[in-house]
């Protein structure tokens, strides 16, 4: 297991290196001149522009800038934001909690709703419960995050005044209320997909011979469903969860923007819109690393659930 983990981690290195290079080059392809953007726009003198370029090493060649950046990145220093003049690492650290809590709540909402619903729909295949759950999941799967977000604000905050429209709370408990609407908006897609996955996995699992063995043992239906079928049904769900978290990471971009949350997503949008390369680069590298690690964790989790994989 340890060797497996080490091997998987080792495999990430070239992927991350190439990805970091792509990100770096992509950021440099943009038509914006960071020095001009930083100067804020006004009869800026060439001297000031030159000073800005020197300060941020923009006058060096791209490869040397890349090496400088990577060297820093390895030590945890992702450079300094052009626009906000802060260390990118510190900015990420400061905004991470919001995004983490948002994603965690979304995952929790999605899975807590999806799994029971999926089981129910599978066990009552063809019933009105199934049809309703399947139809709702289709609608949820097809609703853009940003639409649900603004409709939520319009309905629950502006019209009904039930939920806060924006921002985050001062502590975890308060955040539960503040982040409810954003996380639901964010969770819908994952919920729908997970529900479908659970449902089809459950239907598939219930057809397996070992379920007949379990029936033969005279086990109560509850045990058959929860102990024997569910675990097998969850395997495909686990597989897509890594991918789903990728969707969530993308989704935070839209949700945080809509709900005025100071997380990584809104940071990224702002950075892209203002050509703040160091933030775009650093944050993308961070998200990619996080995404790869999450996928690795998901794979490990898969191994924990499925002994066949663990020992292969």
């Amino acid at each position: 297991m340890l060797a497996y983990l080490a091997r998987r981690l080792l495999q990430l290195v070239p992927v991350l290196l190439v990805a970091s290079f792509l990100v770096f080059v992509a950021a440099r392809l943009t038509p914006q001149d960071p020095a001009v953007v930083m100067a804020g726009g006004r009869q800026t003198s060439t001297a000031v522009l030159e000073a800005i370029r020197a300060k941020y090493h923009l006058d060096e060649s791209v490869p040397s800038q890349y090496l400088r950046w990577m060297a820093g990145a390895l030590l945890g220093d992702l450079g300094e934001s052009y626009r906000l003049k802060q260390g990118v690492s510190a900015m990420i650290a400061a905004r991470l909690p919001v995004s983490l809590q948002l994603i965690a709540m979304s995952v929790a909402i999605a899975l807590l709703a999806a799994v029971p619903l999926g089981i129910l729909a599978a066990l009552r295949k063809g019933s009105w419960v199934d049809i309703l759950a399947t139809s709702l999941s289709l609608a949820a799967l097809s609703s853009p995050v940003f639409l649900t977000g603004i409709l939520g604000i319009l309905l629950f905050s502006y019209t009904l005044g039930w939920l806060p429209a924006l921002g985050s709370g001062r502590n975890f408990a308060e955040n539960l209320r503040y982040l409810l609407m954003p996380s639901v908006a964010l969770a819908l897609n994952m919920l729908a997909l997970s529900m479908r996955m659970t449902r089809s996995g459950m239907i598939e699992a219930m057809r397996r011979p070992y379920i007949q063995t379990a029936i033969l043992k005279g086990l109560p239906r509850r045990t058959i469903v929860l102990k024997h079928a569910l675990r097998n049904a969850l395997l495909p769900l686990v597989t897509i969860t890594g991918l789903q978290i990728g969707f969530l990471l993308s989704g935070t971009v839209l949700v945080e923007y809509t709900f005025g949350l100071g997380g990584l997503g809104s940071l990224l949008v702002n950075a892209i819109q203002t050509s703040d390369y160091p933030v775009v680069q650093g944050l993308t590298l961070f998200i990619v690393s996080a995404f790869l690690l999450i996928n690795l964790l998901v794979d490990l989790l898969y191994g924990i659930i499925d002994p066949r994989i663990r020992q292969a």
Partner: protein, 535 residues
């Protein structure tokens, strides 16, 4: 100053008149009945601040925050006159020398006393290219800043500069504690390092992307004027609808910069107050006068004449601005020689909407028979809408106008890059100082053609350049007005720009907020100093 519709830079605007729209209640007097000391107020800003640093405070989100913490040597009156602040008085013995006498007993928020060393350090720091301050240009003509004694600072200029006097009332004139800066050299202005000044509120916390909190400074020197609130929380909310919703639900007590179409919504919120002030900004469209066929003034005039600005005012701008009459200097900026400016405004050729004349003009121009061109803009809804209106009008003339919508940063880069890679560009601009020249020199002087310059039309007319240079060296406002008007008259014949309107800026608050009157120059000054919450 570059003005952006979506929230980054300031529309610098100065008004003699402040048009006040009051939805329900607006309290101008301080310490009104029912006022109470203390409380926490949440104020929505549209984006995160750049830094807790006056050297970087040059936009609508950073300034309101920084202005609570640090202050300038001078401040502007609501009508644009210079008033004493940290400097008790000042004089200019000759056009190249300014002497400032500092107020005594002013303390920084850590209790240390403010002195001339702090002032010299603060101003020099902004001037230093290494600081890369967006405001450094304000000190472009400064030669030396020196301490004469512990309470006197003397500034010498290389050449006379008619507009230098205003700089010290802006964030470029804000004073920070030298000792504090040196103790926090590595993280000054960042969330960990913070900022220390003499202002009514002291920095408490900054959760990047979410909120910045400032708390009352009890040792504030001007104790009568404030501060009254315990705490101000600046919440960062990019989405306009979210902000207005917050105002309705009570999560937001006050905010600025509301889009025109949401104004009726704000008015419909029970107990909300809404104030709009006429800024001295311009929404402008610049022709690249080096690009064919736009290099022909006849073509430009044809376009202006074909453009139904009146319809744009009625349908798009609505109450959020006043018609510019195709001039960059609006009445609010006639801070001297008002009569002369008024006469000029009434007589100058404006190329008013006249489709028939437009067709004639075009037929006689190098663009006869129509052509294709591109207009560059960012995603700001107002600009996109205006561009589409222009597009529709020009289509009738046989000119195919393509809209190139780019990101805000790209628009900035291309506006200010030396390459001038556009046919027509649309943007916003606001004067930094209460002086007509602030909206003339940047647009028309050929020195702005290069990198970092703001001559968006790539307009070069030696006569215009000479007139502008001449007024800059003069300290006689009457003469300056004459020179500037002459320059504008010459330029009007070349029609390098369309000036659409002078936009307004709106402040909205819940009814319980009192103690603030929005002035046209609000962004160089503290908002929360006098604010209180009614019981």
């Amino acid at each position: 100053m570059r003005k952006s519709g979506s929230g980054r830079a300031l529309p610098a605007a100065f008004a003699l008149a402040c048009i006040v729209l009051v939805a329900t209640l607006s309290s101008c007097a301080r310490a009104a009945p029912g006022a109470s000391k203390g409380g926490s107020l949440s104020f929505a800003i549209t984006g995160d601040i750049v830094a807790l640093d006056p050297a970087q405070a040059y936009d609508f989100t950073t300034n309101p925050v920084v202005n609570e913490i640090t202050e300038g040597l001078l401040r502007f009156s609501p009508t644009g006159e210079l008033l004493p602040n940290l400097a008790e008085k000042w004089e200019s013995p000759d056009p190249k020398t300014y002497v400032y006498h500092l107020r005594k007993g002013v303390k920084f928020q850590d209790g240390s006393a403010m002195g001339a060393d702090d002032v010299v350090f603060s101003l020099d720091r902004i001037r230093d290219p290494k600081t890369a301050s967006s405001l450094a240009w304000m000190y472009g003509s400064v030669d030396r800043i020196e301490r004469t004694d512990d309470s006197t600072v003397r500034i010498s200029l290389k050449t006379p500069d008619a507009m230098f006097r205003y700089a010290l009332a802006t964030t470029a004139g804000h004073v920070i504690s030298k000792a504090y800066y040196e103790a926090h050299a590595s993280n000054f202005g960042k969330p960990e390092g913070g900022l220390l000044g003499t202002g009514p509120f002291k920095f408490a916390s900054w959760k990047p992307g979410s909120e910045i909190v400032v708390e009352r400074f009890d040792g504030y020197w001007d104790r009568d004027k404030g501060p009254f609130l315990d705490r101000v929380v600046f919440k960062i909310i990019g989405e306009d609808a979210t902000r207005v919703t917050g105002l309705k639900t009570g999560e937001i007590d006050a905010t600025i910069k509301l889009p025109v179409d949401l104004l009726p919504v704000v008015r419909s919120i029970k107990g909300a107050q809404l104030v709009g002030v006429e800024g001295l900004s311009d929404d402008w469209i610049a022709f690249n006068t080096r690009r064919k066929p736009l290099d022909d003034p006849q073509v430009r005039k044809a376009i202006i004449t074909a453009f139904n600005v009146g319809a744009v005012m009625d349908g798009i701008v609505k109450e959020a601005g006043v018609a510019a009459g195709n001039q960059s200097v609006g009445p609010a900026l006639w801070t001297y020689e008002k009569a002369a400016w008024e006469t000029f405004q009434n007589t100058v050729e404006k190329y008013a909407y006249d489709p028939a004349r437009a067709r004639e003009l075009l037929a006689k121009s190098r663009g006869a028979g129509g052509f294709k061109a591109k207009i560059l803009t960012d995603g700001d809804a107002f600009r996109v809408n205006v561009a589409q209106a222009l597009q529709a009008d020009l289509a009738k003339l046989g000119i195919q106008l393509e809209i190139e919508k780019v990101g805000e940063a790209e628009l900035t880069t291309r506006q200010f890059s030396g390459k001038r890679d556009y046919d027509i560009v649309m943007g916003g601009w606001g004067a930094d100082f209460p002086d007509p020249a602030a909206n003339i020199q940047p647009f028309l002087h050929s020195s702005g053609m290069g990198e970092g310059g703001s001559d968006f039309a790539v307009y070069s007319n030696p006569k215009v350049d000479a007139l502008i240079d001449q007024q800059s060296r003069s300290s006689d406002d009457k003469e300056r007005a004459k020179l500037l008007i002459s320059a504008l008259q010459l330029a009007a014949a070349d029609a390098p720009y369309i000036f659409v309107d002078h936009p307004k800026i709106f402040y909205a608050a819940s009814e319980k907020v009192g103690g603030y009157t929005m002035s046209p120059i609000w962004y160089w000054d503290s908002i929360a100093r006098g604010m209180y919450l009614k019981k």
